[in-house]
Subunit: 411 residues, 2 copies
């Protein structure tokens, strides 16, 4: 059972948007045992689209196509599909009515261009798009299924969940793949790899290991292939247990866990609360925490003290400490954590103060120097880190590291 | 001058990471007039890599390859390159010394695996990687150039800037493409398209228009093709001026501008400052503002008042207002903006309070209801919005809309 993804869009080929759809689709398909063999991005051009469809039909059982279905003139996917499947167009009154209802919900009138979105290649079976105006289309030819979906991520996701995934599951006898990803923080890829080399070398042949590094983290993905789901689950379970014994302090979660969700669950379980006082992370820790639905159960609030004046006025940092030690110091970050904890009456508090860069570094405190403090019921811990040169990366790693410091106090 | 990108990595095909590299490379190449015709993602498998190289060689002048160069066992790109170019391996002592220096800088010892990264296919010319341990590799065969780079984004970017882009520019006579992107907020794609239809229909044949919608925004990309850069620039300039007259209130920036950078520049120009009081956006506005280097010139700080208790204690919101109008109300959001403005002594302040979802909605205030206030020297403006059902999208659109409300007060 092989699948391919075709992404249509000049905007991707000139680099104006990042193709996040393919990763999401690939993940969903992998979860049900469909292997993605290839992802191809091509331009909004009729010939390129029909050529890509022909090439994919030779290789794949399922071809998922996104993009080029907008109401505007630069989108040609529908035309290309009609040409490839040698058919005309059919107008679907029920789809037009659905589009009109979507507009009515927002108190707006349907535009003429949107009404035309109800006209589809006659060879397709339309798939209702509950999130937007462009319907999905399902085609079958020579035992290959082609599904065309809009490129807008939440519309594509709705169509996948409502129609495409259930249909693929019921149509095909799917092989068994089991993935398990162990999420680690605190050690680079090379050292981690040396530390677990013996375990890695002894992995059974049907289990594959991949290292997936990203700023401040390395994810270890185990993939097991075989006929029997139970046997795969057992062998993954066994290997994971061995690995956990080797690097217990580095593991912060599994699979799609995020550090903010892991911390949130720990806080919820203990009925405890958190606040943050952020300087160099500028609100990213608060944003991460609140991106988790239900975070109001444990997150109270933050004081983002970017300016020293705010550190002094809102967090009671002493001017003398700033003069003596600098804003990026143990004294200041400790005070920030303790002050916000008291002010917001939380059980824990995180504080950060650092030099994100690219400017502001000195010999003594180069760009990438970050102090992080966690205040809790048993006192406050502060730690100095030296990250890299890149501002965006430094902010991201600081936020993740701070959340991980809190996690360690919660376990 | 045609280029293709080959991304190697199982982690992309199983959807565990999003391929952001291709978009960045495509953008850089487009800027110098190189057209990306295709982006292909394939697995970490020897046969697939050599087959993709062979296919790309037939079509492209330049083939950029990323991924599969890590020190660990699952990476096979070097092996595949040696096989494709029918060569052995050469050990480069100077590269090993460079890797050792990188480790020394962080006070660590080079691992054995990293030392092996100095062994490269003999057919390549090595490209020094100043950001990491895996060197780039430059191959030429039958008039096609192949460049292999690591998949770690900042390492790839360093190699592109230090070696690949300058070399491509000096090697090829590049054709002329000029892009100009006009960034709009406040009107959906279909309505915008109807509003500018007459202008769009009258565009000269050598200018192409594309609509690039994303949450809360539509970017309009003009691309001009032709022999003479000056003529292209003049025709883009002319069309942009006509468009600006049609939708002046919708345009917030151009090309790679972000709303946070635009707002930051406006504040800096006026020597004015801003603070935020965020409930539903949970710190995202502060994070966006501080993601801009130099933002300490105008951003003072924020109070993230997620819990009502924090709204009351830290922002002086009245308990009665919360009881009478609810936390998501004009009264509360107005008070939040004015309080943080006074507290942080800024010229402007932004406040948000809303129901991001998926839970917490009522008939009167469904999920997606967001109040945004901007307080400034001439008083406070508050506005109610109804966004959608998706939490992440609602937070993102709320932050962008709030920044745009501030922008309008600054122009």
């Amino acid at each position: 059972m092989k699948a391919e993804i075709i992404t249509i869009g000049d905007e991707i080929l000139i680099g104006q948007i990042v193709d996040t759809n393919s990763a999401w689709m690939a993940q969903q398909l992998n979860d049900i045992g469909v292997k993605i063999e290839r992802i191809v991005t091509i331009p909004d051009a009729l010939d390129e689209i029909t050529a890509a469809l022909a090439a994919a039909e030779k290789r794949a059982d399922v071809v998922l196509i996104t993009g080029g279905l907008g109401p505007t003139k630069d989108d040609v996917t529908k035309k290309a599909l009609a040409e490839y499947f040698k058919c005309g167009f059919t107008f679907h009154a029920d789809i037009e009515a659905h589009i009109a209802r979507l507009f009515a919900r927002f108190g707006k009138e349907m535009s003429k261009l949107n009404s035309l979105q109800a006209e589809l290649p006659s060879a397709c079976e339309p798939l209702q798009n509950n999130q937007g105006t462009a319907p999905g289309m399902w085609f079958t030819q020579n035992d290959t299924v082609f599904v065309s979906m809009p490129g807008v991520p939440y519309e594509m996701k709705g169509l996948m969940k409502d129609h495409v995934l259930p249909r693929i599951k019921s149509t095909y006898a799917l092989p068994t793949i089991l993935h398990r990803t162990i999420l680690t923080m605190g050690m680079g890829e090379s050292w981690l790899s040396e530390r677990i080399a013996e375990w890695e070398d002894a992995l059974p042949a049907h289990i594959k290991l991949a290292y997936l590094p990203s700023p401040g983290r390395v994810r270890l993905r185990l993939s097991a292939f075989g006929p029997d789901l139970g046997a795969l689950a057992y062998s993954i379970f066994t290997e994971e247990r061995k690995l956990t014994k080797l690097i217990p302090e580095l593991i912060y979660g599994y699979d799609d866990d995020t550090i903010e969700a892991v911390v949130g669950e720990l806080l919820r379980g203990k009925r405890q609360t958190v606040s943050t006082a952020e300087s160099c992370t500028g609100g990213l820790i608060a944003h991460k925490l609140t991106s988790v639905s239900g975070s109001s159960d444990y997150f109270q609030g933050s004081i983002i003290s970017y300016a020293n004046q705010v550190k002094i006025a809102s967090l009671g940092v002493s001017e003398l400490d700033i003069q003596t030690h600098g804003a990026v110091s143990e004294a200041v970050v400790t005070r920030m954590a303790e002050a916000v904890k008291a002010k917001m009456q939380t059980d824990f508090a995180i504080a950060t103060s650092g030099i994100a860069g690219p400017t502001g570094g000195t010999d003594e405190k180069p760009v990438g120097t970050v102090w992080i403090a966690v205040a809790g019921p048993n006192g406050t811990t502060a730690k100095k880190y030296l990250f890299g040169q890149n501002r965006e990366r430094n902010i991201e790693i600081s936020a993740n590291t701070a959340l991980n410091m809190l996690r360690k106090q919660l376990i």
